[in-house]
Each structure stands twice: as structure tokens, then as C-alpha cells.
Symmetry: C2
Subunit: 294 residues, 2 copies
């Protein structure tokens, strides 16, 4: 049980965390700060936070748990803003989709206080953003990756594990490097492909007519193309090395499919499709748990 | 109201059409034929068809409406098998995802009887195949494209429009060429990308671990990668010219994204993402209706 949750960045992710902790009775009071005062006000009106803070630092003051839910490019500035109140025993977490860059910023700015920071990435989200979409159930049944450093306080790692578990998430531990390599493959590249694909259809001369004909397969394939531009700009930039590696692999597979189509090798084409189709049919979200953190 | 529906190919699409017509009280009796006798038996046991036919020709005999729901590469052979019973006044339709190849086969084989054939493509489906997944509601609220030829009997075009409308579909008319160009963009290419992407992740050394970490965005993006290999082999081959054109466009957009990532042009990257994101957020399935056939 926490006395006060400080939320820095009252958007979809931060707001949903606040609602989930409240619903689970895990926190007495939530104080929130957002860059835009109107966002903070909205969060208060919606009952997501109990009080507004005038600055990130004031959201930390008096809190025993702090969630930073800002675009990853704002991590360093946020650490700078709060570093004087980063004290032992207080749990600091983020929700960034990339971890190496956030961990580097934490090391640079927090220095010997970095042990209070437990880097976290909940595998949850919506294609809509903003506190109005905050949802107490967003993290239920979802995986949360934490990437502690050698210096991270083990008690805080345990607290982090407990709080995510208490709101229904399954906690896994990884290194920041393995995290970024894995999510380049299963999250960042698919987002990049969805953005590129949707644009490529929408901007062609007959794009408007084509889009009016698209069905449920297209709808699901492109859902993530509606994701938040600022957030994804940061993710694609922060993890571009791994993403470009994955893109290269993808292009090789696409080349192979086009090659068999062009050469009329129907059997090889069917084999390629069958491999994908069977593997996807056998895949289930969150089915196995490598390196569980519990 | 029809006396007898003949279904050639008792799979997901044919079976769902039979169930929908029965539920709507549009047909007295359904007779079905499939290449594999066990499929036909299963369709009968499930109540999808009332009687089994020993051949495609026998499924046509006595029917006043016939639905061919076979892989598009089997269209020509199917037309050959039934051509002696293709008679004026009987409505023949297919459900193929490509139309130029099917129309060409119909012209070649049916010759002066081609007027009985109303080429159709319902924009509906599931990532699972087989009569066990047949569903009377599959076509409700979905678009159906019909691509009549100059020789097509206008009365049959009207009948086709009426029967799809009666089971809840919205009928649009297009030329086979426009159909194939549009669906290369909004259906065939996304399937190809989903197959290639899933394969590319699954086959890398850490693929298994990566897949265990994937979340809801990945799940929706790859849903169509589980689609039927035989059907999609045919679609990708039949419409490869248009698909390869679309793939080229997609690659150019992907190139542009990678270029701005590599050069660190954060603003340009955000612009590219924002264009896609806003366009996708404003898109709604079946929202506008170019050239409605009603």
C-alpha cells in the first residue's frame, strides 16, 4: 500500500496506472503533473488524479511511488527536473517502449541515485491517446517488462513486481539490450510497417476510393497505424539501430516472396505462405514466459 | 426465392452463403459438392447443405442459383466441369478475391453462355477456413463487389444484387480491372506483408522468445498471416502484377521513413507518422460508397 502516487505525464498510460492503483486500493492519493495544464485539469476532473502539481518535482514531493509516463525523448529532461527528490526507498518507474535510451538517461542524470529507478515497459496500449481514454483495466492480463540495473535496489524491484502483479500484470525481467532487440521485432517494426503501408495506400491517386473498399483484414492490419505520432517518433528514433536490422530481415523475406511470384514458382510461394500461416495459427499472445521475474 | 442452391466448394465462404440463404428463407434446398467427399459429408452433418452431389455438374443440375467457392486457380476447371448445364436464367456466381483471372476463365470456357455468370467478391472472411467455421452472419454488413461483363444478363445482375442485399451485404459494381487494382492495395499486399513479416520474426534465432513477448498490436497486425495458404497462393499469383506495383509503392514509403530515421531528421519522421496516423484515425470501414450498384 502506497501513500501517494505521483504521475508525471497524465496521458493514457499514466492515467490508466492511477486508475488501476485506485481501484485495487493500493494508493491513498494521486497527484499528477502534465506539461499542459489543461491535461492535468482534465485528469483531475475525470477523477484520474486527486490533485494537480505545478511541476514534475512537486509531483514527486511527498510521493512514495512515482510513474513517469512521458515520451521517451523527454526522459532525460524529466530526470533532471526531479533528481533532487530522487531518494532511497521511493519507487520510480517509467513506461517507455524503449529501454536502453531511458536507462542511459537515468544513469547520466541520477548518477548514484539511479538505484531508485526501476525501468518498466507495460505491453499495453491503445491506438488512441490522452487521459480521456485512461482505463483501470489497461494493464490487466498484460505483460510488463522490467529491466533493472546492477545498482537497482532489490527491494524496489520487488515492490515494482508486486504493484504490477496486484493490478493483474505479469512481470518479466530482461536486460535493456534484450528488451530493445525483442521489441524492435514484435512492436516497433510492425508499427513502422503499418505507418508506411497506410501512407502508401492513402497518398496514391485512387487512394480514397481504394480505402472505401477495405475490409476487416485491412482494418486490423492497420489499427496500429493510428498510434500517437510523438510517441512513435521517439521510439523509432531511440531504437533505430535494432529496428533497421529487423527491417532488413523483413525486406529479405519480402524479396523472397516477390521472387517466387515473379518466377511463377507456385509451390515455393505456397510453402512460404504455409510456414507463416501455420506459425501464426499456433501463436498465442503471452503463451510462454521466458525469464519470469516472480 | 430460389428453389435450389448448388454450392461448389463447401468451405467457409460457400457454407456461410448457404447458411445465410437458409436463415433468410431465400432457398428451399441446398445441394453441395466438394473435391473431398469428407468435406461434403461434414457440411451435410452440420446442416449447411441438405444433400451431397457426386460432382460439380450434379450440384448444378436442378439448381436455380449456383455459388462456386473454390480457390481461384480452380475456376477454369470448375467452369469446364459445369459448362453443359450453364443455362440462361440460372444465376452463377463465384466468391474469388481476384476477378480478372476468373472472368477470363469464364469467357474462355463458357463462351456464349458467359452471360449467366455474375462475378462476385464478398469482402468478408476469417483467418480460419473450412465448413466448420461457416457462419450465417459472415456477409452481414459487408461489401460485395460484383464485376459484370457487357454480356452479363441484366436480370441476373439484379438477382445477384437482391440476394446479397437480402443477407445484409452492400453491393457495389466495378470493372474486373478496377477491382483487382483496388484489392491489390487494400487486401492482397497487406496479406503478403503479414506473411513476410511473421515469417521474418519467427525464423530468426531468437524468434521464439520474441514471439512470447508480443502484445495486442502485434496480434492484430499479424491476424491475416494465419490465412489459408492455398487460397492466398492463388490470389498472389493471379494478381501479381498489381500486387508488385503496390509493393513497389510501399517500399518507396518505407525507404523514405528509413532515410529520415538514418539521417536523424526527427521532424520529417514525425510528419510521416502523423500523416499516416491522422489518415488512419479518420478512416472507417465501408464509410463511403463509390459507384453503388443499387
Amino acid at each position: 500500500m502506497f501513500n501517494q502516487l505521483g504521475v508525471i505525464g497524465c496521458g493514457l498510460m499514466g492515467g490508466s496506472f492511477a486508475l488501476a492503483l485506485k481501484r485495487a486500493g493500493l494508493v491513498k492519493r494521486v497527484i499528477g503533473y502534465s506539461k499542459s495544464p489543461s491535461t492535468t485539469e482534465k485528469a483531475k476532473k475525470l477523477g484520474v488524479i486527486d490533485d494537480t502539481a505545478e511541476s514534475a518535482l512537486l509531483a514527486v514531493s511527498g510521493s512514495d511511488i512515482v510513474l513517469m509516463s512521458v515520451p521517451v525523448s523527454a526522459s532525460e529532461a524529466t530526470f533532471r527536473a526531479i533528481r533532487h527528490l530522487v531518494e532511497p526507498g521511493v519507487l520510480f518507474m517509467d513506461v517507455g517502449s524503449t529501454k536502453r535510451d531511458v536507462v542511459d538517461a537515468a544513469r547520466r542524470v541520477l548518477k548514484d541515485r539511479v538505484g531508485s529507478f526501476v525501468p518498466a515497459h507495460p505491453i499495453a496500449g491503445k491506438e488512441v491517446s490522452g487521459v480521456a481514454h485512461a482505463d483501470a483495466s489497461l494493464y490487466a492480463g498484460r505483460q510488463v517488462i522490467i529491466t533493472p540495473l546492477p545498482q537497482t535496489d532489490p527491494d524496489l524491484v520487488q515492490k515494482a513486481t508486486d504493484v504490477w502483479s496486484a493490478i493483474g500484470s505479469q512481470v518479466l525481467r530482461m536486460t535493456p539490450e534484450n528488451h530493445d532487440a525483442a521489441f524492435a521485432a514484435v512492436s516497433h517494426l510492425p508499427h513502422m510497417l503499418a505507418f508506411a503501408f497506410f501512407s502508401s495506400v492513402a497518398k496514391q491517386p485512387a487512394g480514397r476510393d481504394f480505402l472505401s473498399l477495405a475490409g476487416p483484414g485491412f482494418r486490423d492490419f492497420t489499427r496500429i497505424a493510428a498510434s500517437d505520432p510523438e510517441m512513435w517518433r521517439d521510439v523509432l528514433m531511440a531504437n533505430r539501430e535494432e529496428i533497421l536490422k529487423q527491417s532488413m530481415r523483413f525486406r529479405h523475406t519480402l524479396d523472397a516472396m516477390e521472387h517466387v511470384m515473379k518466377s511463377g514458382n507456385v509451390e515455393a510461394l505456397e510453402d512460404l505462405i504455409r510456414n507463416a500461416s501455420e506459425a501464426r495459427a499456433n501463436w498465442q499472445m503471452g503463451a510462454t514466459k521466458p525469464g519470469s521475474g516472480r
